[in-house]
């Protein structure tokens, strides 16, 4: 393992068995299908993709909530073994998790103090003064101030943004090395989204924290991470430095995603958007070959619909794309389009 890497994911597969009548296996939902990547210590990386492409399944597998069918997770030099309880306890304390759906995330009948104390109690921090001290520090970091006013509040007394900051505080109170933030701001208004992303970024720098930021909203990634991965149909189809992907997307799916975003501009009324029709693939019966080929206007018959493309370089440092168009150096999306 390269010394700088905090997390190394290798050939991870998470499939969900789909059963009929409770016992007849109909097939597998291939939510995570052969995914590999690394996160360095102190690095923020974004994972984007549309609803149902497997982002949360990947996050939960990394967190040890799902057992992978195949593949390895290497954290800080240790290959995780899900049957080793002691090791998993150590690991869970090192990884903070902000789950999707902030509204269901906080227990309604607990005060903020209780909510934030809970993870420390579970992880054996017995000194109650130390617990309070940590709670206060974390709340201050997340601008839940004046702290004393907030400690006795219940979740329903908080705005959506404050609730979300509480969820983040809970994930950070054990001082983890890695934070997995699954759509941490998607449910919030744009007017408060940026505040929370900026706060998260500041904390990431100050704590030298590794962060995996999961979102379906491509337009926020630039403000958060340096590296980005695009997921489609359970697979990572493109990975790149953020700026590079936004300026020169390589995968036809990434290109379509960027086209689909509406910038607030009055000119938009006059033009139609160029987006592929069709729907995201079924993960139960995914298409052969490249998962995107049924929607792709550059499809190469006999190749894209038959063989799964490996990662190819596409000219720029650290920019890789799983698309057959790039199988020869210097080639890519045909010009005529």
């Amino acid at each position: 393992m390269a010394a700088k890497n905090l997390l190394e994911i290798e050939n991870l597969h998470t499939w969900f068995e789909l059963k009929k009548y409770g016992f007849v296996t109909v097939g597998n939902v291939r939510a995570v299908d052969n995914v590999s990547f690394t996160i360095e210590k102190g690095e923020a990386i974004s994972l984007v993709g549309e609803s149902g492409c497997g982002k949360s399944s990947l996050a939960k597998t990394i967190l040890g909530l799902y057992n992978p069918r195949e593949g390895h997770i290497n954290f800080a030099g240790t290959v995780l073994d899900s049957s080793d309880e002691e090791q998993m306890d150590w690991y869970r304390a090192k990884v903070g998790y902000v789950q999707q759906d902030p509204y269901g995330a906080l227990p309604p009948f607990m005060t903020l103090k209780k909510i934030l104390e809970e993870p420390m109690k579970i992880n054996g921090i017995k000194d109650s003064e130390e617990r309070i001290q940590r709670i206060k520090e974390t709340m201050e970091e997340l601008k839940l101030t004046p702290v004393d006013d907030f400690l006795s509040k219940f979740p329903h007394m908080l705005s959506g943004g404050q609730q979300q900051r509480t969820v983040i505080a809970r994930a950070l109170v054990l001082d983890p090395d890695l934070l997995i933030a699954d759509e941490p701001v998607s449910m919030l208004d744009a007017s408060v989204r940026i505040e929370i992303l900026e706060l998260l970024q500041k904390i990431q720098h100050e704590r030298d924290l590794s962060v995996m930021y999961i979102t379906h909203d491509l337009s926020t990634v630039r403000y958060f991470s340096k590296r980005i991965m695009v997921m489609y149909g359970g697979k990572i189809v493109e990975r790149s430095p953020v700026g590079d992907l936004l300026d020169n997307p390589a995968h036809p799916y990434s290109i379509a995603l960027l086209h689909a975003i509406s910038e607030p501009d009055a000119e938009n009324v006059d033009t139609y958007k160029e987006v592929p029709s069709g729907e995201p693939p079924s993960l139960l019966n995914p298409p052969e070959g490249c998962r995107f080929h049924p929607r792709c206007k550059y499809k190469i018959d006999g190749l894209c619909d038959e063989e799964i493309p490996p990662d190819f370089g596409c000219g720029m440092e650290g920019h890789q794309v799983a698309c057959w168009l790039y199988r020869q150096e210097g080639e890519g999306i045909p010009d005529d389009s």
Binding site: E50, A190, V192, I194, D217, S262, A266, V269, Y272, V275
Partner: protein
């Protein structure tokens, strides 16, 4: 007196009573929409967007405490109609609404073609089932649902297809105005873009007016001729889309616009500190003052909606 717009809303109010007091969800809202034009209503969660849509369609919850004002449609005051007449002559017929999360409220045990046909049959707009089916097929084609989906049940459709079915249902009676409450916010980006294309085409071909309710400002620009910004139950700015997306005037609109992340420019983003006031307990003066970067003495009094330029209304003392 000013000439009435095709749809003309005047001082409409919708208050709810709760155990904690009165919620002023729609607080003296006025605007006019010319025939065939589309507008968006944008604003933060809880500012009263859905309530405004419901108020226009007279869809009132049980705990409605106050429902007043005027809704003129082609100069006829709809408020003077009986509930019965409103239901029969106006709702679906001339004004339709696709409610928030409509795709999840399709009836799971009825085939989609029968659900979409329902408004036609209920309103005696067709003579027989065959005619109804023709209209349904037409409506499906318009929104891009393959006609072999006619016989399906909602659970057999993806989210995007269900949303299209909901829109098809609102179009089947060919109303003049369709209110769409957050029609794409639960959908994928590509599906969202596809549906916005569909709406645009319908607007062009049929001349239907859409009132699009959304908190997604980027998407809202896709079909907006005009834009209304709502804050704490009130409209604080109402103008042509070019004005709004180009150079909004109200400090709230300005902040709202600069909090939208952009792909094309690497600009610094802004956010609005604090949170909107509770609609149960509104402050004196301008409701936005507490969070406003341009606040001055005058703001302790409530500003009226000033007409800054022709057709550009701003509720802020800066534009007196």
């Amino acid at each position: 007196m000013e000439e009435r717009k095709y749809l003309d809303i005047e001082d409409i109010e919708l208050f709810f009573s709760t155990s904690e007091g009165t919620v002023r969800a729609v607080d003296k809202v006025s605007f006019g929409l010319p025939r065939g034009e589309s507008m968006v209503v944008v604003g933060e969660s809880g500012c009263g967007k859905s309530s405004l849509g419901n108020a226009i369609l007279r869809l009132l919850p049980r705990n409605t405490e106050k429902y007043e004002g005027h809704v003129f449609l082609n100069s006829e005051d709809l408020m003077s109609l009986s509930d019965e007449k409103f239901r029969h002559d106006i709702r679906w017929n001339r004004l339709a609404l696709v409610p928030q999360a409509a795709m999840n409220s399709l009836n799971p045990v009825i085939k989609v073609q029968d659900q979409v046909a329902e408004p036609l049959l209920v309103h005696d707009m067709v003579d027989n089932k065959e005619q109804a089916k023709d209209r349904v097929v037409k409506s499906f084609r318009r929104v891009g649902v393959p006609t072999d989906f006619l016989q399906r049940y909602p659970f057999e459709l993806s989210g995007g297809m269900k949303q299209r079915v909901s829109i098809a249902m609102s179009l089947v009676t060919e109303p003049d105005i369709v209110i769409l409450d957050e029609p794409t916010s639960a959908l994928d980006m590509l599906t969202q873009a596809n549906i916005m294309n569909v709406l645009k085409r319908i607007k062009e071909e049929l001349g239907i007016s859409f009132i699009l309710i959304t908190h997604d400002i980027g998407t809202s620009s896709e079909i907006a001729d005009r834009a209304a910004v709502m804050y704490a139950g009130q409209i604080v700015e109402y103008t042509d889309a070019r004005n709004f997306f180009g150079d909004p005037l109200h400090p709230y609109s300005i902040k709202l616009m600069s909090s939208v992340p952009r792909l094309d420019v690497d600009k610094d983003l802004d956010y609005i500190p604090g949170q909107p006031p509770s609609l149960l307990n509104l402050p004196e003066g301008c409701y936005f003052a507490e969070r406003c970067h341009k606040r001055f003495e005058k703001c302790s009094q409530e500003p009226p909606l000033f007409e800054v330029e022709d057709d550009w209304h701003v509720k802020c003392w800066l534009y007196k």
